[in-house]
Symmetry: C2
Subunit: 428 residues, 2 copies
């Protein structure tokens, strides 16, 4: 049987994992593809570098075209990351008629439609299971498992670094800065953690999930993003007292074909399955009109979990090649994109205010809510000797985002409010 | 475009859901299959019966052959349940060259290999996503999502009735009999609940999952089964004190290609993701060598969740028909089955004993463990004025099943032990 020849772009953590799995599980893989899978060429940055995994020196090259334009190669597996030159390499590989498997969330979030269109034009497969939530097969679940349903909500813990930080803050009552420093020391956070902690990484993944779930080309710029760098240990403490855990959630919602996508720290009710997802684990909660509530949980990153998804995609390409249907199973987003305005977005909110500790303050505050027709589920007021002022913690009923914006604007003009400490969405 | 014509065997809860989804989501379905899906014939038991969903009277028939041997029909969807005459209908449908989608766990657990072999012979697709865990796409996750990995453990809460009962017992501190009666009144348990509460339903589902996960033809008779009818509120109470929830778990394990499959009440550590799966929800935890820990959570039954899985299978058949590859994607179990002996099965155990309240008792008991080389993680002894005797609660370290059997046998000969109240496996 003619082997399926794979060219690897990149030989870092995930690339090494791919080679390990392809070699270690060869017999089981071949049962499924009907042909052996063979790594035929590997693009590396530095030919001289010492590596954990030894591969034959004929296989490595520092010249990308020896992979991309290699007539022997059937499938290009891209695990080098980044936007350029990676995008150019992938487009050229497709141009050359090669199927592509990629783990690149940045690229798929920003240029997914262009890459998928090129693949369709050239009759090639492009699969990217590993780009979201590492080892969790969430992309094929959205495309195939729920092919019969209408998905109306996707909520994801899709960034392991921030989930690790928030879990630690919750478990240990520790400060954000303290836990971040520890995470950096352990290698769970990068030395420049901006992309993770400011929610950008999660936003890219939500772009991909929302596009697939809603059949609509969601762009990264459609996602409203807020990170966790301002989450305080008070927020987590008060949340717990009220029965909530603070999580960085990506939330994609659809109603009557209008959609909204956001990433923000969110108070998640303890009884909700997302509330108990801790540490570097990821989870994606999917609500379908017919199926109801489902959740998919697993490791969000790591050499072997991510490589599992890459090689599962490779098996799929191999099967399609064997059946002669590669490049024919892609489904393009076919629904016109209609974004919800702030008038159409609604949720519960948690608000923490520092206020003057004197008579009539709560009355003035509740008047503002009342004016904007926002009703309140619970209100707590307590003195805080540390400030020293009073604190007011409010959880609203479901409220229109636009009304909440007006409430917050009016709060800024109220002199009894010294500071709007936190405003979070509430779910579950 | 020529429509995909579907014949329905059965028009109960799930059948009605299938028609609702096919009609309600027609446009989205057609985007994926490339052709409309049309329900062309429906086998019912009683032509005169009043139904919630009206369908044209030309579509219904009481004659199964008008569906199975109908030359117009491409796909037979079996949602009537039972073993006979259902099995004969499905084999005849395949004989006639029709693809089959079924939600029938009993049939697939008992006769899956025969049905899949017939399908392979006739070049037909047989899909059965709805047979396990209703709305959770766990079958395609095992087959495709983890195609690259070697799965070593599957643990499932795959029976909603028993999970409802155990959750209620845990939340309300109520007795088994009391909660069962309530569940029967609410329609969550049948008037004869044997198949659910004695673990038989879960065993059938575990047979299917183990066969797929381990590529080995696991038979129902390979599954050791124990139900929940002897779980007491004391077990649940003591479990909680030690940090465990009692769950009916199906557990399939593989080591060096030797496998074991069982269903039993299990003490699940509170921090394990399965511990917080409550009510009628199902969840399947999958451990793969490369991917590590994953879990898939969702509704285990119900009209629309189950129908979602049936229609997703229908979409898959439709796509395969469009691509001309229907009947070519089946993967037969290819590994020889090797069952673990009790010498090869190991786990932690929880044991509750009623003992004489006098000196030297604990010493005699620990001697038995020591003789069999079973070491203990924790031991609690307390007087129980209600019995009135003492109670001893033991959690072992990992112990060989065969050694535990010997311990229990020796316990029966010890006159200081009045009763071995409970012995449960411990996980997490």
């Amino acid at each position: 049987m003619k082997p399926i020849k794979v060219g690897l772009l990149g030989f870092g953590t995930v690339g090494t994992g791919v080679v390990r799995i392809v070699e270690g599980h060869q017999e089981d893989l071949q049962r499924q593809t009907g042909a052996p899978i063979e790594v035929a060429k590997v693009l590396v940055r530095d030919l001289e570098k010492q590596r954990n995994l030894r591969i034959s020196s004929d296989l490595v090259t520092a010249n990308p075209w020896e992979v991309i334009r290699n007539p022997e190669i059937d499938v290009v597996v891209e695990v080098m990351g980044g936007i350029e030159p990676t995008k150019g390499y992938i487009l050229e590989a497709l141009e050359q008629g090669k199927h592509v498997v990629t783990a690149n969330k940045d690229l798929m979030a920003l240029h997914g439609p262009e890459i998928l269109a090129k693949a369709a034009e050239k009759g090639c497969d492009v699969f990217y299971e590993a780009s979201v939530a590492g080892g969790i097969p969430i992309i094929r679940t959205l495309i195939e498992g729920f092919s019969s349903d209408r998905i109306t909500k996707i909520m994801g813990i899709v960034n392991g670094t921030t989930n690790y930080i928030l879990s630690k803050m919750s478990q240990e009552g520790a400060d954000y800065a303290e836990v971040l420093a520890e995470a950096q020391k352990l290698g769970y956070a990068e030395s420049d953690p901006t992309s993770d902690v400011e929610g950008l990484d999660a936003a890219r993944k939500m772009t991909i999930l929302a596009t697939l779930g809603f059949h609509s080309k969601v762009a990264l710029s459609d996602v409203s993003v807020k990170g966790i760098s301002n989450v305080s240990k008070e927020d987590i403490l008060y949340g717990k007292k009220l029965g909530y855990e603070v999580k960085l959630l990506g939330i994609a919602e659809r109603k009557d074909d209008s959609i909204s996508v956001s990433v923000q720290p969110t108070m998640v009710k303890m009884s909700h399955p997302l509330a108990t997802v801790n540490g570097v684990f990821n989870a994606v909660y999917v609500y379908g009109e017919a199926v109801g509530e489902t959740m998919f949980y697993g490791p969000g990153a790591g050499e072997l979990p991510t490589a599992t998804s890459v090689v599962a995609d490779l098996v799929r390409v191999g099967k399609n090649m064997g059946l002669g249907v590669a490049g024919r199973s892609g489904l393009m987003a076919y629904k016109e994109k209609k974004l919800k305005s702030d008038e159409e977005i609604a949720s519960k909110f948690y608000i923490l205010l520092h206020v003057a500790d004197k008579a009539g303050v709560l009355h003035k505050i509740t008047e503002v809510f009342s004016d904007q027709d926002v009703s309140l589920e619970s209100v707590f007021q307590q003195p805080n000797p540390a400030i020293p002022q009073a604190e007011i913690i409010i959880i609203t009923h479901n409220a229109i985002q636009a009304s909440m914006n007006k409430v917050l604007k009016q709060f800024e003009t109220l002199d009894v409010i010294h500071e709007i400490k936190s405003v979070y969405r509430v779910e579950g």
